[in-house]
């Protein structure tokens, strides 16, 4: 029983962190039709902001606050320097952002070295959850991730800005002719998506090994989540993250990490075989 509860908590934890990365990917793809291969590296930068700020000031929390702000600026710069010039050319955006991801990864190696860094757990206490002693920091991650996911939903579905971003996603030419500055919406969305990935990297840093490869470890499951849940849907991102995050932690509990990965890929393939547009896309 206790093992089950611990497993459920771990599943929720991974799913919610994955959701933040996936949401960023979905809003950027949905709005600009850009597959951002460097999204995992935005996660990576988020984690290293925490490493750098913790080393310099001793404060994890300052790093956690700064990471999304740094990534919003990085997102704006990447959009301005690279994406806006090529976003009509789908394949080129994949190549360009992949190249960017290599540059970021090597940049991190140059600055911090190839080895793993560690960030001390900022809330070392444990909390009793239905008889299970569970790390308080992991509960904090869950609460914060859930709150941010809700805030993203609110931004897109309850605000004037969100309504207009959805208008641009659905029909760019019409949105411009209705007086919406579509370029500004692109920039805002890229910054928000990047900040979400950076925040996820920062908040996960204390419970992961922070190394230059950690971005890939999140990029692949978040791509799978997008495909499984359905492109162009925030609810799809939630469902996809639940399926992929849940399957990953549940399979990893019983078998080796590598075998679990194979099963997760198989599961994703089966779902996409029968629902090519993802779970929210329906059968078409």
């Amino acid at each position: 029983m206790e093992a089950t509860i611990a497993l459920l908590l771990d599943t929720a934890n991974f799913t919610l962190a994955l959701l933040l990365v996936t949401l960023g990917l979905v809003v950027i793809f949905g709005l600009m039709n850009v597959i951002n291969m460097a999204h995992g590296e935005f996660f990576l930068i988020g984690a290293y902001v925490v490493v750098a700020v913790s080393n310099a000031t001793g404060s994890f929390w300052l790093g956690l606050l700064l990471a999304p702000a740094v990534l919003a600026v990085v997102g704006l710069l990447v959009e301005w320097l690279i994406i806006r010039h090529i976003y009509h050319r789908f394949i080129d955006t994949i190549l360009a952002t992949w190249g960017l991801s290599l540059v970021i990864k090597q940049g991190v190696v140059v600055l911090f070295g190839p080895g793993a860094q560690s960030v001390p757990n900022p809330i070392p206490a444990a909390v009793d959850v239905f008889g299970v002693q569970y790390p308080a920091y992991r509960l904090f991650i869950m609460a914060l991730s859930a709150a941010l996911a809700l805030a993203t939903y609110y931004l897109f579905f309850r605000t004037r800005l969100g309504l207009q971003i959805r208008g641009v996603i659905a029909n760019r030419a019409m949105a411009a002719s209705l007086g919406i500055n579509t370029r500004r919406m692109d920039r805002a969305t890229f910054a928000v998506g990047s900040a979400l990935a950076g925040f996820a990297g920062a908040v996960m840093a204390p419970i992961m090994s922070v190394d230059p490869q950690m971005g890939v470890g999140f990029l692949i499951p978040s791509f799978l989540s997008v495909l499984v849940g359905g492109v162009n849907s925030l609810v799809g991102a939630l469902i996809g993250s639940g399926v992929i995050g849940g399957a990953t932690t549940i399979f990893s509990a019983g078998i080796s990490q590598a075998d679990a990965q194979i099963l997760v890929f198989l599961l994703a393939m089966i779902i996409i075989r029968f629902l090519p547009n993802g779970i929210t896309g329906g059968r078409k």
């Binding site: 309850r158 207009q164 659905a170 411009a176 209705l178 007086g179």
Partner: protein
């Protein structure tokens, strides 16, 4: 937007080329405020390009596009839109995934002022205005329906309602009755006449359907190969030999 009774839109010598192809060839056109004109012409004569140049989709290669006296050639589409120009696309530019009401709320939101921190607070659309527009365009009672599921003619009228939500003074309509039945066409013709007569809008219409053009009761401009070859009332234009030869076809 302009001094009373002055022209709302004035094109002077507007030229647009795509590679070696001259699509608009030194075009002159004047639309008085509160008036309606209809542009007729064969496919490929430059009608839609003319709209694209006015809305800023493409900058002209030469000439001036004056809105209420101001040259707007080269401004981006959203800026020209904010000067009071709204355009209806040939394929309805409505949002099929959203409800009828939400479709109207997007342009209402776009016109609701600048973005500050306040734009992140919950947004309450102007429901009274939205409902008045739906009513005007004959869509009352459809507010909650998903746009992908309403009739084609209703989508066309919804798009017109969306343009009105932008407070546009100059409305450009690109084949507003494409794909409509006869009854739907008459409903749209009467809606467009109301926009001119009761709402005081200035309107430019591109159309193929001669029956619809007659129902609009407005002056007609005939374009062929990027130039205006005839202007006048329906009865005059339809008897003009140049128009018959190049557009309507000769009767044998």
């Amino acid at each position: 937007m302009s001094e009373p009774n002055g022209p709302i839109l004035q094109l002077a010598g507007v030229t647009k080329r795509f590679g070696g192809l001259v699509v608009l060839d030194g075009l002159d056109l004047t639309l008085p405020k509160g008036a309606m004109q209809c542009i007729l012409g064969p496919n490929g004569c430059g009608k839609t390009t003319l709209f694209n140049v006015v809305t800023g989709e493409f900058p002209p290669d030469g000439g001036e596009v004056r809105l209420g006296g101001r040259n707007v050639a080269g401004l981006s589409p959203h800026r020209i839109s904010r000067l009071g120009v709204a355009r209806k696309f040939q394929v309805p530019g409505v949002y099929p995934e959203l409800s009828v009401a939400e479709n109207i709320e997007i342009p209402l939101a776009a016109g609701a002022g600048r973005y500050g921190p306040l734009s992140l607070l919950g947004y309450r659309p102007d429901a009274a205005r939205r409902d008045r527009l739906l009513d005007l365009c004959g869509l009352a009672g459809k507010a909650g329906e998903k746009v992908g599921e309403i009739a084609h003619g209703e989508k066309q009228r919804l798009e017109i309602a969306m343009l009105l939500a932008r407070d546009a003074e100059l409305i450009l309509l690109d084949e507003p009755t494409a794909g409509m039945s006869g009854a739907e066409t008459s409903a749209v013709a009467s809606l467009i006449r109301r926009l001119r007569d009761e709402e005081g809008k200035s309107i430019l219409v591109i159309e193929h359907d001669m029956n619809f053009v007659r129902q609009l009761e407005c002056p007609i401009i005939v374009m062929v190969r990027g130039k205006i070859i005839a202007e006048g009332r329906y009865e005059e234009v339809s008897r003009d030999p140049r128009v018959i030869e190049s557009y309507l076809g000769k009767r044998h």
